[in-house]
Symmetry: C2
Subunit: 254 residues, 2 copies
Amino acid sequence: MKFIDKLRRRMDEVKNVLAIGLDTDIERLPEKFSKDSHGMYEFNCMIIESTKNLACAYKINSAFYESSGYDGMRTLQKTRDLIGDIPVIYDAKRGDIESTAKAYAKAAFELFDFDAITLSPYMGEDALNPFLKYEEKYSFVLCLSSNKSADNFEYHGEPPLYSEVAHLVNQKNYESGNCGLVVGATVAGRLAEISKMAPKSLILIPGIGTQGGDAYAVMHSVDHQKIIVNVSRAIIFADDPVASAMNYSKILSF
Amino acid sequence: MKFIDKLRRRMDEVKNVLAIGLDTDIERLPEKFSKDSHGMYEFNCMIIESTKNLACAYKINSAFYESSGYDGMRTLQKTRDLIGDIPVIYDAKRGDIESTAKAYAKAAFELFDFDAITLSPYMGEDALNPFLKYEEKYSFVLCLSSNKSADNFEYHGEPPLYSEVAHLVNQKNYESGNCGLVVGATVAGRLAEISKMAPKSLILIPGIGTQGGDAYAVMHSVDHQKIIVNVSRAIIFADDPVASAMNYSKILSF
């Protein structure tokens, strides 16, 4: 089944657009978990078990697993397997020449069997094409991000770089039907504008909570059928992760 | 010892600016090696053992290890350890918000203990700063690449995006002394121009050989003290890797 259908079906079940981000920073694990890749896995088990009825998807941030070396990569694989049929996005921001991108795509979609990935567009479409060839998978391409220095380059030029990226993504999605965008929640004011540039693309929206984005503002900016909203640290490292997940799942419900 | 001093010392020993890229694509391993992560490691041992007097550095391309899952990541770690004191660049093109970049930097510089890394600048300086804090390590930031679709975005705007990246890298390098650029060999004609924008930054130059870049043209474009030139597939998958490495080490000698 294609990612987009799998996600739609799941959204219809949970009636929200919340993705929970497993940014499992070993340094921030609660005391009862060991500060190693085993503790990471146990923590992920707890989060997934207690939130799996509240989220339409999970997002796994590669960095926090790589930073435990190959043991961390085993935890990444085990965590992905544990999630099973719920859609899982691999937040990896990969972007390289075609032969290298092909190897990254194999890693993400064949080895780890993620349903979707995030990509970086700097090198242009060569960096995207090998991922888009996997028809059942989905690729979210960085467009406008939620961090302070997004304005270093993303607004560069006239029209600004981010809109050039949105137009390329729209074109690629027209060809393959599996190419979307990443737009940070802190720029909710631009969501409607960007969505019009790539009207058939799904938009993954990180930056809620710790990064300052406002979930209400996002839900009022754009049709809920076009978005999937990720919350990571504000749920998993909350004093009460389940209460936080419930709260966000309500705000992000339809 | 700082990467730049380690590299200079090594360059003075081998009298060339050749880095050999271990893009160890499992599908292209010669028949006598098993097509798994063990075969990758055996192949890398053979390449490193037979070329270690011919190169000033090695570059390890993360994608080809990730694509064998966590077993591949173990091979990546073992390969890095095998190289020992020769400078090793982690070709990873990572680029994400600050908290995530911090975790990627920990992976690259603490866990795997690489000497340098390649980064993607799309999200601006937040994506670079956590790496630059490692004073003894070095970061090469994508500027102008060697692939066909480099012109999708890298030339966007006036001045073009790649020159904006070079200027930011120059500023960061002024502060930290460990920030350089990645410029593809296929755009050798722009090397002198880019080098002037970031006069104290080292430039890592991939794209020689399989990608069509010309090593002679590169050596005639810019002062050899400012560059390190990578050759991957054209050496490691040559019929005679040692002969190919000797050939490139001569062209790239000073």
